[in-house]
Assembly symmetry: C2
Homo-oligomer: 593 residues x 2
């Protein structure tokens, strides 16, 4: 089997880190207790392992292609999408009233990780559709919700996000696509959108584009951007399909990775105007798009975890199989499989620890999301919302940067074979590189973390987080030798975080360059720390639950300790660079580069 879903690890996280029992007591989640979660995860694992995962390498070899304006996806993709939709997976996290399952995010996120691990290129289509549904739920009219959401959930239609234009990438203020009101409540759109994931494909009968554009006469900059629904095929009021709309795929990008996923250049209005309807109010498009983007950012973080796990599994299998050289400890008399060699074990442990650490972080963030939306107590909701918002850039930024390291190690474990495309390890290395870029580069995540999540409240949320970590630390330091080892590193890392927060809040607006030059290192520090913290919690749980599954629990403790001893110490170097190197980061004159 090319992919084995980590159901056991996910259930461990749900039970011991994400508080599944507590989530299942929140209004609306009563049906999602332990047994249901286990059943859902196992059912999802089967579909992903058996149907979706085997198409991953195939998609790399035989990517989507454009001919006569039509995109044909990899052989097998349409059938897999049908199976995915018919299984109800697209609706898993969405409201029951529109045909969804209403599952909490803690469960949906686990399933989503499996989907992404099975086939990231394939999974991008559902991921974007989730974003479209979120936007409709946030800002769509009841009619729009009723017209579009059920079809998006049953797989009849899919959704896209249209932000980027050639001159407008990270900077959406530069968006130029034009929307002309027609007087009948509709608009005609004109412009070019690029990097549109699944902007054209053959998986569904319609594609619902969510498009940022400027209504004629709107203000300059981000305050003049509105959000529109522009279906590929127009939708009548009764939900039936009408005429083909004036939006056309004019080319697909030739990418380094996620090749099976068609990345379209879409041309709006070349033949008279693409008909669109406004979502919410005019000039509030960016606000709505951020709702989609925040959901998508968390999802991209899961992609990082997913591809890291896939790379890890492949590397372990190769390391067990490949026989080369005698172990240095003399444990095997002759040549042994390379998993016996200490450096291979170190690489595999690094891959494993980073993956499990980020998975634990994401599970905890998902629990906060659920509490923020479903907990009966308003104050608890608010606290969880603040926690979740702090976590989103970490889940997105740290998990994806981590996936670059893990997929690189995955190739490395394979030696020369890793560089040969047929082996498959190289695909993960190529695929992963998009993750630190799309849905906001790591720098954009870091700007968000520094500006909106740290400086705006004077470091309050960051310090509250450190307080929570200190509490876990205290328990660890009073525990077993392993717990103490983790607790010590956690303390040092937490102190590094606080030093940076103090530095940032002191520099504040006086020295923005110093603060923002440290933004990505700060994100890496905070992500590293939070993942390590969650593994610290995991160690405590694994020790107390050891009897239930000794081998699994011991492995969890070993992984947590490895993370603490090998990964957490990086935080000190990051702190030094941020605080001690703020000047040198921006000292070189621009013309000297």
């Amino acid at each position: 089997m090319s992919y084995q879903a980590p159901v056991k690890d996910m259930m461990f996280n749900l039970r011991h880190l994400a508080g599944l029992d507590a989530v299942a007591q929140m209004p609306g989640f009563e049906d999602f207790g332990d047994e249901t979660a286990q059943a859902v995860l196992e059912e999802c694992a089967r579909l992903m392992q058996d149907v979706v995962a085997p198409l991953n390498h195939e998609g790399d070899k035989q990517p989507s292609y454009l001919k006569d304006g039509k995109v044909t996806t990899t052989t097998g993709f349409p059938a897999a999408f049908k199976a995915y939709a018919e299984g109800g997976w697209q609706g898993l996290q969405h409201p029951v009233e529109f045909g969804g399952q209403g599952a909490p995010k803690v469960i949906a996120a686990a399933c989503n990780e499996m989907l992404q691990a099975a086939n990231m290129s394939f999974a991008l289509c559902p991921l974007l559709t989730d974003g479209a549904v979120e936007a409709l739920l946030t800002a769509g009219s009841p009619e729009q919700q009723q017209l579009y959401i059920p079809k998006l959930l049953d797989g009849s239609w899919t959704g896209t996000m249209n932000l980027t234009e050639p001159q407008a990438g990270s900077d959406l203020a530069l968006v130029r696509t034009r929307a002309e009101p027609q007087g009948d409540g509709t608009y005609k759109l004109f412009g070019t959108k690029i990097f549109i994931t699944y902007g054209e494909h053959d998986l569904a009968e319609n594609i619902i584009h969510f498009v940022l554009a400027r209504v004629v006469g709107a203000p300059e900059g981000v305050k003049g951007i509105s959000l529109f629904i522009v279906p590929k095929v127009l939708v009548n009021a009764d939900g039936s399909l009408g005429a083909r709309n004036d939006v056309h795929c004019v080319s697909l990008e030739h990418k380094m990775g996620i090749k099976a996923s068609p990345t379209a250049v879409l041309q709006y209005g070349d033949h008279g105007g693409a008909i669109g309807t406004l979502v919410g109010q005019e000039n509030r498009g960016l606000e709505y798009m951020f709702v989609m983007m925040n959901a998508a950012r968390y999802g991209v973080g899961l992609q990082g975890i997913a591809i890291a796990d896939r790379a890890y599994q492949k590397a372990v299998a190769y390391a067990r199989d490949r026989v080369q050289s005698r172990p240095v400890d003399g444990s095997v008399a002759g040549s042994a499989s390379i998993i016996h060699h200490p450096d291979v074990r170190r690489m595999l442990m690094t891959m494993r620890a980073l993956t499990e650490g980020c998975r634990a972080m994401a599970a905890t963030a998902a629990a906060a999301f659920d509490a923020a939306h479903h907990h009966p107590d308003p104050e608890t909701r608010q606290q969880n919302q603040a926690f979740y918002e702090f976590m989103v850039p970490l889940v997105k930024g740290y998990s994806t940067e981590m996936s670059l390291e893990v997929t690189s190690l995955g190739v490395q474990v394979h030696g020369g074979m890793g560089f040969i495309e047929e082996t498959g390890a190289a695909q993960y290395y190529r695929d992963a590189k998009i993750l630190t870029i799309y849905e906001g580069t790591t720098a954009i995540q870091a700007n968000d973390l520094v500006g909106r999540k740290t400086l705006r409240d004077g470091g309050a949320m960051a310090r509250a987080l450190a307080q929570q970590i200190a509490s876990t630390e205290a328990t660890l330091l009073a525990g077993s030798a392993a717990a103490q080892a983790v607790g010590q590193r956690l303390r040092a890392a937490r102190e590094a975080l606080l030093a940076v927060v103090d530095f940032f809040t002191a520099q504040g607006k006086a020295n923005p360059n110093a603060v923002y030059a440290g933004s990505v290192p700060y994100l890496m520090l905070a992500g590293n720390l939070v993942a390590g913290w969650q593994l610290g919690r995991a160690l405590l749980a694994a020790e107390s639950e050891r009897a239930s599954d000794p081998a699994f629990m011991d492995a969890k403790c070993a992984t947590a300790r490895f993370y603490a001893e090998h990964i957490l110490p990086r935080t000190a170097a990051l702190c030094d660079a941020i605080v001690g190197g703020a000047e040198s980061a921006v000292a070189l004159p621009l013309d000297a580069f």
Copy 2:
């Protein structure tokens, strides 16, 4: 221009770090003083920039291909190879008596970096030919040297290294290719060799394969391996070409990167036996091959530096050009080119500092090589040889691992455009990944560093190196504010190195797993430190020579300080992981992965 050779930086290194004046006083190098060096580097730069570099992206798009047993390289490669050979570049570092230029390695290495930066796939052919010449100079008979070296230097023929077989990668003890003595001084070879770079091509009229094989009846393991010359076309005693030999390219690998470089599977002896002649003595093949490999390992280190520089140059150009968002410091009123953004500057500085640091390290190592071979004093020769041997795994291991980070940042600076193949940044990311694998993976380099270079002499060479660093440190700490800032970080990093050396020598043979689990982190620590040390020396030189070129010297100081404040602190984390995490690295039972 797609590549601008860093001649100024190279000359700075030659003058102030590698001691070119002293090198030019050694017997045999009298003609290679400052003026000659400058002229050679400028001449080389022109060829690389104008002829070789423009073919790099083309080679990625239109790789070498195999048809009817013949390999056709990328359009333009044969003409470029002709220009390279006719310019005398293949002979630059080789003896005058065989038609070479006899240049010192300090100069040859600079030219080699340019070649690799211009076009790594192309440059692999000369790199392998250099290795073949080295092997002949070390172990070839006078007749073999006379017969082969002049043709290898004038570009008529090229050389290859044939080590790997499907079951024998890092572990050459498993080599199975068989050599049967024919009684006339020749052997017939039978077997399959894989991953043979430029094993077949159309750049030259003949290919001289250097092949590891086992003479029938030879001992098992590495002690039964001999080295053979097996020409593609047999060579008569007068140097004219004879019959086609029984070695054939049966396929080319489909690789993630360096696509233009044909990586061949070679079949020996399928039609009666490939005729070969022994190099040196039977069963000493591995020893000779190590001579080739050590030259090649240094060369691969240069490839890391080269591709890093190319990626840096491309990223700088894009960052100057791409306009997106307002700078946080308000230095520009509207949207500005992204080089104004602090995180982009941090990324570019990281790329620049890593590249210049490794280049400085490589230049110093080359100077030691020259002194080891040409210095009149035997003791000085011996000291330099020990220093050089310690440097080889650092130049190879650290520079190539660094190139992964730099090429990844290179893509990142480009944002979404970086992921599009037409942009070209992705090619560097894909190409670089082979560098940590071939000519010995980073783990193999680290084993060499730990076993042969550190434990064998009880840490003496490592401690002697630390002593040299301490001396630079003292000068820095007595200097300017910038010098002190560098000196402080250097001291911490040197102490981290010594802590690891103490740990390794104390654990010694009692706990080999703990030592070897820390081997790659130790290599990364030592490489980081040595590169930082050389930049510390560079800062001192730049300060004292400031008047000669203020802008360049100031930039050097800024880069050195950035390296010290942002890169050197990583050594502490590595030290912690090695010393504090030795147990956890190998704690997980093998069946728990």
